[in-house]
Amino acid sequence: MAGILVVVEHRKGELRPVSRELIGLATSLKASSGEPVQVALIAADPARHAQALQLAGVDEIVTVQSAGDAFDPEVYEASVRALIAARQPSLVLLPHSVDTLGYAAPLVVRDGHGFTTDVFKVERDGDGWVATRSGYGQKVNVEMEFPGHATVVLTVRPGSFKPVEAAGTPAISSLPAPQVTPRSQHLAFEEPAGGDDVDIPGADFILSIGRGVGEEDNVEQFKELSDSVGATLGCSRPIADSGWLPKSRQVGQSGKTAANCKLYVAMGISGSVQHMAGMKHVDTIVAVNTDPEASIFTIAKYGIVGDIFDIGKELQNHF
């Protein structure tokens, strides 16, 4: 009975929500593999978070005290190495996060464990683990296997599993902190600079218009619409080229990358490679286009086959 080891993540004193999702995954896998679930916490003050980790299905909380609370890739790598050596888990679950991008690969390449990243499904098959991730820009699913590896390390896509809510009574133990001389130091956290009036990179809701808008006079109604719905107005290149909107409103390869966008409503945009380059990461894309085969519908979450003026006019009536 090897064990499923979950390494949780915290930042600025808060346990990150993905941690509980991973515990949810671990406890559901426990049902099929029978292995105990160990939750590992690496922190300067482990007691601070330990309580929040006393969740149903968790058999043991193992803490490793680190010198500082802020993330350091070498401290985490050494700590997880020590945890794996001590508990010999068959499966190690890490969140797929900015932090783990910094230490998971170095860890596995040195120690030779099975490894893949950004998985959203994990199953047992015979005596091995099988994990599923996306491929080719999320157009396909890929099942990965790890023949010959006693321990498999996976980074898990946030939002893929239900978090555990119910309380439990795991045992608590600690591991001595490994000796590490880090070659980098966390200096500070910094908030991003405030945006100016038109801030496509900073906007979380963008309504974008394309060539379908036709004429300059028609741009006004979409400006009004974006204003009413609370979106930042963006556009594709031809609109900006015509001078109908400032260049700063252009979204796409030769414009701004909409880095923070969570909701993107694309009106009359076909979804050419150039425009969509900046949009792939957006949570929710709603596309409105008269062509039911427009490429944008393959990356949008919701699609409306329709005329942008009809839709726009009616949408205005709701705000």
Binding site: R11, F71, P73, S97, L101, G102, A104, A105, L107, V108, V109, G112, H113, G114, F115, T116, T117, D118, V130, S134, G135, Y136, G137, K139, V140, E143, M144, E145, R183, S184, L187, A188, F189, E190, E191, P192, P201, D204, F205, T257, A259, N260, K262, L263, V265, V286, V288, F297, T298, I299, Y302, G303, I304, I311, G312, K313, E314, L315, H318, F319
Partner: protein, 266 residues
């Protein structure tokens, strides 16, 4: 001083593609190749250092693991001002996962004695996010991932980086050099190569080597050097958008709901 920039030729798909016979990959006829989006930024960062103060002696070397077709991407980098290009290939590398690729690139970095190694955070096709940092592990070099800003004076023993965290906050980190960094989109504004640069690059030589030439044994490459294996590739059921049906008024009403729900959360 030498900066090694590792790049990848990525593949993308149109709609309606077919699987390869063994169902472990796509039929290659359907793949469209391009330079990894991130690699425009990593190359630009290297060029920025080269063209900046103290950069006179910086040599920018671009390297990739890939078959003949990858030469095209190396030439794009040469066209933008990279000094040298190297490609490593062997048919066995077809089965390499990111870790096995990193083994090859790390061997190359050792051969080149690179002072800085830049890689993209991830590739736009499979987005593993592993190759760059796996290289760091193999080279036992100081490393940082998801670097959105780099302050470095050539010759200095440290650099200051800003890692872009979830939600937009940055972590400011001081790191020893030589180092391996993965760089994030938006770290700079990539240049376009001039037409003259593109034409000149077409005639520049690209060094092509096999893994054996850079000190790797057969047991280190391809499937043997990987830590994972593709069992099956398939098309998931939900590939397209959920279409909102109805008259334009009904569709608009649904869209209004989506927007209001979003704003409710925001």
């Amino acid at each position: 001083m030498k900066i090694l920039v590792t790049i990848k030729q990525v593949a993308s798909l149109d709609e309606d593609f077919e699987m390869r016979g063994d169902n472990r990959d796509i039929d290659p006829d359907f793949l469209v190749h391009d330079l990894n989006e991130w690699d425009n930024f990593t190359l630009e960062e290297a060029m920025r250092l080269k063209e900046g103060p103290g950069g006179d002696n910086i040599e920018v070397v671009v390297a990739t693991v890939g078959p003949d077709s990858a030469d095209e991407e190396l030439r794009k980098c040469l066209a933008k001002g990279a000094d040298r290009a190297i490609r490593v290939w062997d048919d066995a590398l077809e089965e390499a996962d990111p870790i096995a690729v990193a083994r090859v690139l790390a061997a190359l970095a050792r051969r080149e004695s690179a002072d800085l190694v830049f890689a993209g955070v991830q590739a736009s096709d499979h987005a593993f996010g592993a190759t760059g940092m796996a290289m760091a592990g193999l080279l036992d070099a100081p490393h940082a991932a998801v670097v959105a800003a780099l302050e470095y004076t050539p010759g200095e023993g440290t650099a200051t980086v800003r890692r872009e965290l979830e939600g937009g906050t940055y972590a400011v980190v001081k790191i020893n050099t030589p180092a391996v960094l993965t760089l994030q989109l938006g770290i700079n504004t990539p240049r376009y190569a001039s037409l003259r640069g593109i034409k000149q690059a077409a005639a520049r030589p690209i060094e092509v080597v096999g893994p054996v030439d850079i000190g790797l044994a057969a047991g280190d490459t391809g499937a043997a050097g990987s830590l994972s294996r593709v069992r099956r590739m398939y098309v998931p059921e939900k590939g397209r958008a959920q279409m909102i049906e109805g008259t334009p008024a009904e569709q608009a009403s649904q869209l209004a709901k989506i927007i209001k729900e979003f704003r409710g959360e925001a």
